[in-house]
Symmetry: C2
C-alpha cells in the first residue's frame, strides 16, 4: 500500500492549497479528487458567476457572455491545475476516497481500486446543494447553480428558489440577459442572513433588472408540465416556468466518507467539527478545511483554513480567527458584510451608525447614488467595531478597511482619525466612524 | 467694526468645514472668500477632473462629457454652498481679506471695504499654480488646470507641462477624447514623487491612451506662434501645440495677506507653519488648514486639518497624524500611495514586497491584468508597514485597508491574517503581507 505523509480528500480550493504547501515543505502528499482538480470555485461557482455578472455590467450579449465565461473557466479543463499540482510534487489521484480503517484511505473509481496509507489526513471535500423538501421537486426540470453556470441555455422563464448570495447573483445574471426571472424566498427579505437595509437595496436592484420577487413565500409543491414546471407556493400562488434553479443552501459533502471509523461525530449541521487550529479533535492527525467544516461556504474561508492546516501540519501553531470573514455578493450593486449581522446578533445590544453613499462626492461623480453602509458596535464594548454591512459599487473592495478594523480590533478613536482619499466611496465610512467614536461635531458643510 | 468669534480666510474645503463646525457649536463665524464658496475642489479641480475621467472611461463623447462635468460642478454656481453656510449660521463675506492689525481683518472687493474683528483667525486660503521659470511662457496660450477644467475646448494639439497627479489626469482626459497630447516632465518618470513601478505602469497607460511622453525633459523656452506655440526643451527638441497646460505644481496662496503683522514667518516652502494641532505657533488664536499649510495639496488633507482646527478651536486637543495621508491619481488605472514613498525614504532602509494584480482571480474575471501593489516596511521596525503604493482599478478604494494599517500601526502578523473576499483586488495584498510577516510558506497552488 502506497504510504503518504499527507492524504488530502478533495482537490478544491482548500485541498490544493494544503497539498501544495505540504509538498513544498518536503512532505509526500496525495490528493484524492473525483471531480475537477481545483474544485468548484474556478469552474462551477464563484468564477463563472462573477464572469457573467461582469458581462451583464458591460452590456455584452448572452452568447458573448457565455463564451467569455467558458474561457475564464478553461472550458472545464482542469489540466492546468493538475500540472501545477504535479510540478509542486503532489500526487493527484482521480477517484473517490473513503476511510477504510484508521491510517488507510480506499480509493474507488478512476483507475480501479487502491488503498493509500497516511500519517496526516485532511478532509476538504467541500459541500453539495440541498433542495428544499417540497413535494415533486425532484421530478421537474431543475438546475443546481453548478449546472446553470456551465450551461449555454438562457431559459425564457426561470424560477430561482432561494435569495441567498447565489440565488441573488444568478437572478441578476439571467434577468440581465433577458430571462423572465421569478425569485422565490421563504424568508421575508432578500439575503435573509444580512442587515435588512442590504436586502432592501438589493431587492430594488433586482426588481430594476426585471426580476419578480416573491418574498416570505415557501414552496409547497412542484408539478412537471409539458414543457416546464409549475410551483405552488404556501399561500396557494401558482408560478409557471421553463426551469427552476435550486439555490436554497448547501451542506458539507461527507456522505459515505467513513469518518465514523475514525471516531468522528458530525456536528448538528452535518459538518466535521474542528478546533481553532483546524484539527478534528476526535482523531489524531486528522484535519479539515473548507465547506466540510460548515464554517462559511466561501472560497476565501476555505483558503484561510487551508493555510492554518498547512502551518499546523508543518509544526506551527496558528489559530483561525473568524471574527472578520467577509460575506460578499457580487451583484450590481455589490453587497458586503463582515462580523456580526444584525439578523444574528444573538442577544448583543448593537449600536448602529450608517451613511448613504449618495452623501459622498464619489456618488455624484459616478452618477450612481444607490447604496449605504452601516457599522455596528456592541453596547458592552463600544470602543471597537463588531460588524458591518455595505451595499454599493465595489463594496467588496472598500470594505476591506472595515474588515481589518474588526479583525485587528482597531479602536474607534483611531478608525475615526483615518483619512480617506477624496472622492472615494470609502469616505462614506467617516461619518458613522466619527459618530461611533463620539466625535461627531455636527455636519461639516460639505 | 463687526466682531466675530471666528473669522475664516478662504471658503474652500477647509474653511467651510471649520466655519460650519464652529457655528454649529454656537460661535459667531465669518468666512471671507473672493472666489467661489466651496473653493476649487468642487468646481475647478477634483470634481470636474474625476467627472471627465469617468466620462472617458465610459466612452462618452466630449460634448456629453463637458455637459456632465458642468452639471456636476453646478455650472460654477456656488449658491447651494452659500445657502448651506447661511443655514449653518455662518456669515459669508464676498471679498478679499487681509490682516489690518492683530484682531482685525480688512475686506476689500465685494461690497466695498469693511473691517472684521476676530478672536480666532483661521487661514485657509488654499494654493495657486506655479509656472516653471521658462523664458516666454507667460506670452503663449496657456491654461491652468482650473481653466482647462472649466473650458469646453478640445485642443487639437495640447502640451501638458508636469507629470504629477494633475498633469497625468488631464493628459489622460484630453488624449482619451482625441487631442494629440504631449506630456513633458523634467524628472525621469511620470509621478516623480512616487514609486518607480507606479510611474512606469501609468506611463504605459498614458501612451496607450495616445499621449506622447517626454520624460527627463525640462522646458527652456516658449515661443508664441500664429496659432499656438512652440516649446524648446533643454535638449533642443522643439514641440508645437495649440495650447500648453501648466501642471508644474502649486504654492500656498498667501501673498498680500499681511501675515507678517501677526509675527508669522512663512516656511522655506512659502507655507504657514503649523503645529500638530494646526495652530500657528507664532500667533495666539491663529490656525491654518488646507493647502496654505503646505502639507499636501489634497481636499482630504484640507478636510482632515479642518476637523482638527474645529475640534481644538472648540476646546479639544486633537493632533494631526500625517503618517497615512492618501495620495491618489484617478487615472485608468488609478494610482494610490500612502505613507513613505521609496523616492523620499530619506535614509530609511525599506523592505519591499509586491504583487502583480495579474496574479489575482479578480483580474481574470475583469479581463484587465494591469497593475501592481508594493508594501514597504522599514529595517529598523520591520513589524509594521510604513508605506505602500498601488496601481490598478479602484486602487483608491481597496488601499483603504493599507492606509488604516499604517495609521493604526497594525502589526504585520495581524495584517497577514486578515481575510479578503474572493475574488477581489484586495487579495493581491495577501502575498506581500505574508512575505513581510515572515509567514510565506511557499506558493499555494492557486
Amino acid at each position: 500500500m502506497p504510504e503518504f505523509d499527507v492524504v488530502v480528500l478533495g482537490g478544491g480550493s482548500a485541498g490544493t492549497l494544503v497539498a501544495t504547501a505540504a509538498a513544498g515543505a518536503g512532505r509526500s502528499v496525495a490528493v484524492v479528487e473525483a471531480g475537477l482538480a481545483g474544485g468548484e470555485s474556478p469552474y462551477l461557482a464563484c468564477i463563472p458567476s462573477k464572469s457573467l455578472l461582469q458581462s451583464a455590467r458591460r452590456g455584452e450579449t448572452w452568447e458573448h457572455a457565455v463564451a467569455r465565461r467558458d474561457e475564464v473557466t478553461a472550458h472545464l479543463d482542469d489540466s492546468a491545475v493538475a500540472s501545477r499540482l504535479a510540478e509542486a510534487g503532489v500526487t493527484l489521484i482521480r477517484g473517490t476516497g473513503r476511510v477504510g480503517e484508521p491510517g488507510a484511505i480506499e480509493v474507488s473509481g478512476g483507475a480501479g481500486h487502491s488503498v493509500l496509507g497516511y500519517t496526516d489526513l485532511v478532509i476538504a471535500t467541500g459541500s453539495e446543494p440541498v433542495a428544499p423538501p417540497a413535494e415533486g421537486l425532484t421530478d421537474v426540470p431543475a438546475w443546481t447553480s453548478a449546472e446553470a453556470l456551465t450551461c449555454p441555455d438562457l431559459p425564457r422563464r426561470l424560477i430561482v428558489l432561494g435569495a441567498g448570495p447565489v440565488g441573488c447573483e444568478l437572478t441578476q445574471v439571467y434577468a440581465s440577459f433577458g430571462s423572465q426571472v421569478t425569485l422565490v424566498e421563504a424568508e421575508d427579505q432578500v439575503l435573509p442572513d444580512e442587515a435588512p437595509f442590504a436586502g432592501e437595496i438589493l431587492a430594488d436592484a433586482l426588481r430594476r433588472t426585471g426580476a419578480d420577487l416573491r418574498l416570505g413565500s415557501a414552496v409547497s409543491k412542484a408539478e412537471a408540465l409539458g414543457s416546464g414546471l409549475a410551483l405552488i407556493l404556501a399561500d396557494g400562488t401558482r408560478l409557471e416556468g421553463d426551469r427552476v434553479l435550486l439555490a436554497t443552501g448547501r451542506r458539507p459533502r461527507l456522505t459515505g466518507l467513513g469518518l465514523e471509523k475514525l471516531g468522528i461525530e458530525l456536528t448538528a449541521a452535518g459538518a466535521v467539527p474542528v478546533d481553532a487550529g483546524c484539527r478534528v479533535p476526535a482523531a489524531d492527525g486528522v484535519w479539515a478545511a473548507g465547506d466540510a467544516t460548515g464554517l462559511g461556504c466561501y472560497t476565501h474561508t476555505a483558503r484561510y483554513q487551508a493555510r492554518i492546516v498547512a502551518a499546523n501540519l508543518l509544526g506551527g501553531s496558528r489559530s483561525a480567527d473568524y471574527r472578520a470573514i467577509p460575506r460578499a455578493v457580487y451583484t450590481m450593486p455589490s453587497v458586503y458584510s463582515v462580523g456580526i449581522s444584525p439578523r444574528h446578533a444573538s442577544g448583543l445590544d448593537l449600536i448602529t451608525a450608517g451613511q448613504d453613499l449618495a452623501e459622498t462626492a464619489r456618488a455624484a461623480v459616478e452618477d450612481d447614488e444607490r447604496g449605504r453602509v452601516e457599522l455596528y458596535a456592541a453596547a458592552g464594548r463600544p470602543d471597537i467595531l463588531v460588524g458591518a454591512a455595505a451595499v454599493g459599487p465595489y463594496a467588496e473592495e472598500w470594505m476591506g478597511e472595515i474588515t481589518l478594523a474588526i479583525r485587528a480590533a482597531v479602536p474607534l478613536g483611531v478608525l475615526a482619525d483615518a483619512v480617506h482619499a477624496f472622492p472615494t466611496y470609502g469616505e462614506a465610512l467617516e461619518p458613522p466612524l466619527r459618530e461611533l467614536a463620539g466625535r461627531d461635531h455636527g455636519k461639516d458643510g460639505r
